[in-house]
Symmetry: C3
């Protein structure tokens, strides 16, 4: 990995003249390319500063609040460690869903947890049409109370994974690609296969594949999306990816077979997800409290999955990529055949070959989150960065 020269990086940030102070980070496609680049630049600066043993401290107290409406280890620790490195305490809102499911209560709770809070990170990826909407409800509530003078500062909301996007993950992925290929420019024309893969588990969110196709199409890449019939992503996100490709000079192609997507690919990202029609049914059944329906849906879904066990990233599949040496990516944890399950997304030998690469990929995430917090919660972020590196 080439290490960043600090002064250059700072010039880049300043040159971009981007100041996303007090704005939320909810979907990458709501952000300009400049804003995305600024976030990644700051992440690199923080990562390099940490490598050099410098203090990242940017706050003299105050809270970072997290709300995890789904289990999480990786993102939880990424958020907590980013906050702690910046000097913030972490407090998790451990509400049962029932307690904050009403619009009224979300509005109130959002304000109650925000009086001395610098940032709110939310993970809510279980139900289509719900997660991102919930984040916007929280954001609207803190805006209202900030405007009324009740909150002294408006804590920005950071999407730690929703039903639509997973920006902290995909920006970490993009940084991993930049470091692997040397520059963002070097990514132009590179072929990435974002493909479905078989998993014995059920109901995995769509946020990673959606986030990947929507983000990487903005950087001139050839993005191939492949999945079995019926495993479509949200149509609006596919449309976003198509438009992004047109704008950036990249490509967005849908394919029906894993092998087609892998052919000549520079990068592969094989990962399981649930069909969004199933996710929609599931949301409906859950709202109705229909337990029998849910069990039946799970059985059906797993049975359907089982028809596509051949969607495994193994050495035979990898051999079809460019020179047989495509970069394998995964957001972790992967379902590894014979290791974490009988058969899964990736064979043990392929995964082992790229295991450390996936750890390195994950290692960008805490710094991406720290960059988002710093840019959104400190008005003088660029000036403060100069303090960190000097």
């Amino acid at each position: 990995m080439t290490h960043l020269r600090m002064p250059d990086a700072l010039e880049n940030v300043q040159a971009l003249r981007v100041a996303p102070y007090r704005t939320d980070f909810l979907l990458t496609w709501e952000k300009s390319v400049e804003e995305l680049l600024a976030t990644m630049h700051v992440a690199e600066i923080l990562q390099e500063a940490h490598r050099q043993g410098r203090s990242l401290r940017s706050f003299d107290g105050g809270l970072a609040v997290s709300i995890f409406r789904d289990k999480s280890t990786r993102t939880r620790f990424s958020f907590a460690s980013a906050a702690a490195a910046l000097g913030l305490g972490v407090q998790d809102l451990d509400e049962e869903k029932s307690q904050i499911s009403h619009g009224e209560t979300v509005r109130e709770t959002a304000v109650m947890i925000s009086f001395l809070t610098e940032v709110i990170g939310i993970r809510d990826d279980m139900f289509l049409g719900e997660g991102n909407r919930y984040m916007r409800e929280v954001a609207a509530a803190v805006t209202e109370s900030f405007k009324a003078g009740i909150l002294h500062r408006r804590p920005p909301v950071i999407n730690l994974q929703c039903d639509m996007d997973h920006p902290t993950q995909t920006l970490a992925d993009l940084l991993a690609l930049k470091h692997h290929f040397g520059s963002f420019e070097a990514l132009r024309g590179k072929k990435i296969a974002m493909t479905w893969a078989y998993s014995p588990s059920y109901g995995k969110p769509l946020s990673v594949p959606q986030g990947i196709i929507a983000l990487l199409t903005r950087f001139g890449m050839e993005v191939r999306l492949a999945h079995p019939e019926g495993y479509d992503l949200l149509p609006e996100v596919s449309q976003v990816a198509g438009k992004n490709a047109t704008t950036s000079g990249g490509t967005f192609v849908k394919m029906d077979r894993m092998a087609d997507a892998f052919a000549g690919a520079d990068i592969v990202y094989p990962k399981s997800w649930a069909p969004f029609t199933v996710m929609q049914q599931r949301t409906k059944l859950l709202r109705e409290g229909n337990r029998t329906g849910l069990s039946e849906l799970e059985r059906e879904c797993l049975a359907r999955n089982a028809a596509f066990k051949s969607w495994e990233c193994n050495e035979a599949m990898m051999s079809q990529t460019r020179g047989g040496k495509a970069l394998y990516m995964h957001c972790l944890p992967a379902d590894i055949s014979t290791v974490s399950c009988a058969q899964g997304e990736v064979s043990a030998d392929v995964f082992e070959r790229y295991r450390l690469a996936t750890y390195r990929e994950a290692g960008f995430k805490p710094f991406v989150i720290a960059a988002m917090i710093l840019l959104a919660a400190r008005e003088d972020a660029v000036k403060h960065l100069q303090h960190i590196v000097s």
Copy 2:
């Protein structure tokens, strides 16, 4: 809201010459008016300092320990954010009740969590005769070990709500009143209706109404307490309120009807609570492990509540207050008719009109808690405040 001029505020604190260093904050009626004023002054200074973006950091590490023996979101976050703003880490003691219910174990646990601890905040409001007693057991234990030289410093104990009082809430309420009416002096003679209100839920603590009548009678207000027959508060707290009114030149009146209490009132605080006789029975049944008895008691209690559905704070009721414009107060969350329940403490239109006012009221709480911690855990609190604001 008028903003505090800093130097004035500091002079006030010094003039009061109150030094509640290392003392607990368990009941407002154990504190002198001067001590209460000092706490609120410091809360205002900290709130204004935060509004101006100043650092509230007062500790260079160390722990704030919380013990929540009942569910809490608001108070939990108020305590956590106050601690984090002051530079303390927060550690929650998540004991199951059974494990620390014995006198012996309380004593030992209190010391085990206190070796590097600056403050202990406790919420224990479920059982009459238990919560405040538990806080005093913890306080006695840390005193014993401090005197024996085992603890280097004695962490003060702060009542985050017990069976008798809820001082962090009621001081926040009082600050909200001061800011609404302009000064503590302006509160003299103002009529506040602290009334029971109907709720479809069961077993709400008595601490807020008790704390309100005991506190506001000290500031020369006309405090009216109204509730249906059988919903009495603890007799000793009513006596405290009566005496306070006499001393301060205020009034404490009990009434039988919500409408009577609302008539001409400047402020209304309609809130549900359980009759203390029911709370007593409940404590007894719980100790006996009598599940059937508990279910039966809940059924009876809810049936009895249902007879008083007319105790709702709605527009008709509000129209009887002074100019129809009394300030509506609530400690939140309120049971809002047609919003959080079919019928509850307050109608949706009244609540919506005062919604932001209740958020503002809640916003004083973290600063009240921070003030309590600062005054009790830093010997040089006043000097340190000068450092914060300079």
Copy 3:
């Protein structure tokens, strides 16, 4: 308690020229006597600095991660308060065992929680042959990723109690002994009775008695181990104790009766534990998911325990110690007859006489942990100590 003179203490640390930077603390018998002395010296310096009101802050942000695979209050708070005093945020990894039981997943999770982490504390004492092994898996994983440049720094792993040893407890115990008798030198030849004691509970870990016999034999003490037949400790640890005694000029003797071990003892440490053969069966049954077998084992084990109710540390037993005045030690919580159970490890009168002494003993633990963190996670620990005390 005599207070440390700071300059002397610092000279000692420097004189030892021990730099356990980035090394784990897993078993005391893997450490040289010099390293143990250095750790205890630093603990004393930090304790004295805290007593004098000095800041122990040593990190400008960053995380201390804890993993508790068994319930804990004391050690949890010791670790949290040590970390908070040093300026680290605390994040607990709350994984269910099933999720991180595979070798693969341990390796991955260890790295995922370590990107901005300064230290990892682990408690895993439930299953023989598991806990210490798990710690080494975590340690190996972070080493691998550090060597690959994925982690900027390698977080040291601290054993907060495993199946073999409990070093933070036993070093705190040893410091308590030093302060009681005046010096480490004064401990030479002192007789300590580490004995089993009856408890109505089941399955207590072996780590404390094992840790005590392995540690105190290194300081020239006469260590007596007594337990009923069948309650043996791990044979390899007994061997370690025997060798240590030979090297240090101390003694390690096994006895069959509590009274024999108490006769003329200067110190007694009566504490219940499960026989390791039972622990082994239990591990096997748990792995098989054999619930019936487990219940049966518990019944058998409790029945067997009941045959040894006479192993109680009471006044009659104490009267046989040196002058009837041996120091009573316990890692807490003790099973106190008539207080926390009908009959247990210690009678109420004996315990009450030594209650504050056991609190004092426990009070060394947070400082021992802080010393371990400081020495392992700051390369310039000694220089930094000079900053703390100057």
